[in-house]
Symmetry: C2
Subunit: 471 residues, 2 copies
């Protein structure tokens, strides 16, 4: 490799950690449909959410303030691993022989190896402040469960994690990590909850799913006076907490003297994507509001529209690209709030062959609406090309990406290769949401040729979509 083409890091100083989260809601040029009560299908009031969340988070969930202050103790904990670096991927550019400039914002340096700590710390803090003693949550492969377990340890909260059984059995390591942090980990479906017992009654061998585990965690929280529920993605307040990613990235792109033409992030529930993208969407949203309100532009005045924004998901769980935009339950047992979002149906379960995470049947309501209104494009990618790009990235940049994050790598690589064809030289910024040190089993399967590409069959999606509530 020729000299002088190594990665360039743009590292902020500690004082540059954002002290307020960015709330996109007041900037949206459209109204969001309200979440509904799972039993009545009537709009939810804050009081309906009180069994699940502390008041501070409920307020954030419905807030229309343009920004929300980051509490000092949360900032203190952010400072352990933030500001997160933003890199120019010069070696990757070289390997791809592309005129594109590729940047990535790296969230893998948190104690739990992913962006999830940005919200788990905030959520544990607010619960702690309101006297909550215990949090219940669900986890798939364990990324979110580990992050919440860590944050609970920081604030002396108990943590009860319902872990999708197939992961619990096949991935004992993440379970061990949650136990290091003192969490109680239960394979889901479990006999501990009515939701779990119902599933087990009809299928004692059920491998579980995120939707089922959410049902169990919600039920646990409702059943215990001292317990609240915590979700690692999807909800407005979770997306809010993640905006530290994009706010830092904006400062870092400025340091780099560049502006992203395209922005890419992977989507499971949408929180890492939103965290990076939302602050960059401001100009496009403002322009749309002006169009809406008929505010004339003066002649010759150009409006900065901000970057093109692409959300990437797996073809094995194609929520944004093949789902329906409509009201659906957040969980399998229909205990969680009903939200207007892109969904594959709350009974949807991705195929076992899929190794790359991002398995939730729905997507964050705000993100869904942004896709629906054309502010965000959605793309689905297949897993073999995802792992191939992950390997290319690791060999050129040194960092081994989480398979989830590698979905964003894939599309960034595709855009860079397109640029080579067209001769354009766009600045591409993507989110590298976590490292893959926990996911080497998936890489092992990839090298062993055990992974296959998988497009979910339409008939199954249609079947799952038939279960949407008639709101």
């Amino acid at each position: 490799m020729p000299e002088g083409h190594d990665a360039v890091k743009f590292l902020l100083r500690e004082n540059d950690i954002p002290t307020a989260w960015y709330n996109i809601v007041p900037d949206l040029p459209f109204d969001l449909d309200p979440p509904l009560h799972p039993r009545t299908l009537q709009p939810l009031g804050p009081e309906d959410l009180l069994p699940l969340f502390p008041m501070a988070l409920i307020e954030q969930e419905v807030s229309r303030a343009p920004a929300v202050d980051v509490p000092g103790r949360v900032l203190d904990l952010y400072r352990q691993y933030r500001p997160a670096p933003l890199f120019r991927a010069r070696r990757l550019e070289q390997v791809l022989n592309t005129p594109a400039r590729i940047y990535y914002k790296y969230e893998g340096l948190s104690p739990v190896g992913s962006h999830k700590a940005n919200t788990s710390i905030a959520q544990a803090y607010y619960n702690h402040c309101e006297g909550v003693r215990r949090l219940a949550t669900e986890t798939g492969a364990g990324q979110w469960g580990s992050a919440l377990a860590m944050a609970c340890a920081m604030f002396g909260l108990e943590c009860s994690v319902y872990m999708v059984r197939v992961s619990y059995d096949q991935k004992p390591y993440r379970k061990a990590m949650m136990r290091v942090y003192g969490a109680d980990v239960t394979p889901s479906p479990s006999p501990k909850t009515a939701a779990g017992r119902a599933i087990l009654a009809s299928d004692p061998e059920s491998p579980g799913s995120l939707g089922i585990a959410i049902s169990e965690a919600v039920e646990d929280a409702v059943a215990h006076e001292d317990t609240k529920y915590s979700l690692g993605s999807v909800l407005n307040h979770v997306l809010l907490h993640q905006t530290v990613i994009g706010l830092e990235a904006q400062m870092q792109m400025e340091m780099a003297g560049d502006r992203p033409d395209v922005l890419v992030g992977c989507v499971g529930g949408g929180s890492n994507f939103a965290g990076l993208a939302f602050p960059f969407l401001k100009p496009a949203l403002a322009a749309a509001r002006r169009r809406h309100s008929g505010t004339a532009q003066r002649a010759g005045q150009s409006t900065p529209q901000g970057p093109r924004v692409i959300a990437v998901e797996p073809t094995a769980c194609p929520t944004l690209t093949r789902g329906t935009f409509g009201y659906d339950y957040g969980d399998t047992a229909c205990l969680a709030p009903v939200a207007k979002m892109y969904t594959l149906g709350h009974g949807f379960v991705p195929a076992g062959i899929h190794a790359g995470g991002l398995r939730y049947h729905g997507a964050a309501p705000i993100l869904s609406a942004l896709v629906r209104h054309g502010f965000v494009e959605a793309r689905a990618v297949r897993q073999l090309e995802v792992f191939e790009s992950a390997v290319t990235f690791a060999r050129s940049e040194g960092i081994l990406p989480a398979p989830e994050s590698a979905h964003a790598v894939r599309v960034a690589v595709d855009l860079a290769l397109e640029a080579r064809e067209t001769g354009a030289s766009p600045a591409i910024l993507f989110g590298l949401s976590g490292h893959g040190h926990f996911d080497l089993g998936a890489y092992e399967s990839y090298f062993a040729g055990q992974l296959k590409d998988y497009d979910h069959p339409q008939a199954e999606i249609d079947r799952a979509l038939a279960s949407l509530p008639k709101a």
Copy 2:
């Protein structure tokens, strides 16, 4: 947990990455015994090392310069993950209710999760500059193999890793990581080398050992014109590269307005320990040189002696605390250079029950001599207390330590608890050399009650020591 007692991070700016490594050799108040040729047992000349190492590293191995410049490209790659943070462990102090001030220098943010990248990058660079096409090395659990594989990918070198068979079979994940970086991984002992074949002939089921894997890698390098050998610890130039750790830590302790009274690091071969400790040993070494040369101190002038320095090893591989200080081979097959060091005998193999790494039979010659001359204390700790402290640390500081690094955590905790008894308030600085995200299997065994404390039987150590060369 009360407010306002979170960890405090001392983060240098990028420009503060040391641009020269610190060479302790000219500061030593004693002479080092020369390494010997494994066949002749005569002092080694640089020409004897040429089949194994590029000239730049041979020069560093014997250098008496007080400092060695870090090449620009190595600095560029260091900048991807350095400066590494130094933390004040306020929450740990609170949990321990100690008057001690506890600091730790954290090396787990490198792309491979440990300090090993500090030397793998430098070694790959120098080999690349001298036209080497391929590097051969050994690895135990895979930490060093991953680090060298990553660095080779950065410089376009091939990488051949001999991995101790028991780890190869039981830890497929690290193998997958090396493969992501493009390395070729062979279980050792292997039929590829004469050394491997000899072992297999006498024991076809041999689980392998670091000593055997070193023999194979050395033989591979000698047998191939385009291949050199690379070692991840022990050698002078490896320790030299790691001094970026201590040089940064010195600046950071100054930022903290504090000075360490005690310094603690874990020891396998000794490179992470040396990297942190050597820069802090300067005043003690200078004072000893003055005593040696009879330079009088003026009355009333106090000499800064620097901190007390403690090297920590497992009781399962007690090189510094129960080994002999003498000449021994670096490997099992007696192909590697013979060095004067603390050793348990080159045939020593730690018991399988030991889960915490740090399994090498010897220790770095410079470190060994410092222990021998009383500049460094050595302590051995048992694995159950090590894992116990690792869990305490993770729950208070958020970072999950590698089991190796947790040996240092244990002694830091012990010192902090002692301080509570004595009422002293020392500043304790320890090295946290890597994260434990790869080592969750060991934590799982710990929680499952499968780990036992293990003091290696004296008879076996005596037997292994009987194999020392008569130099």
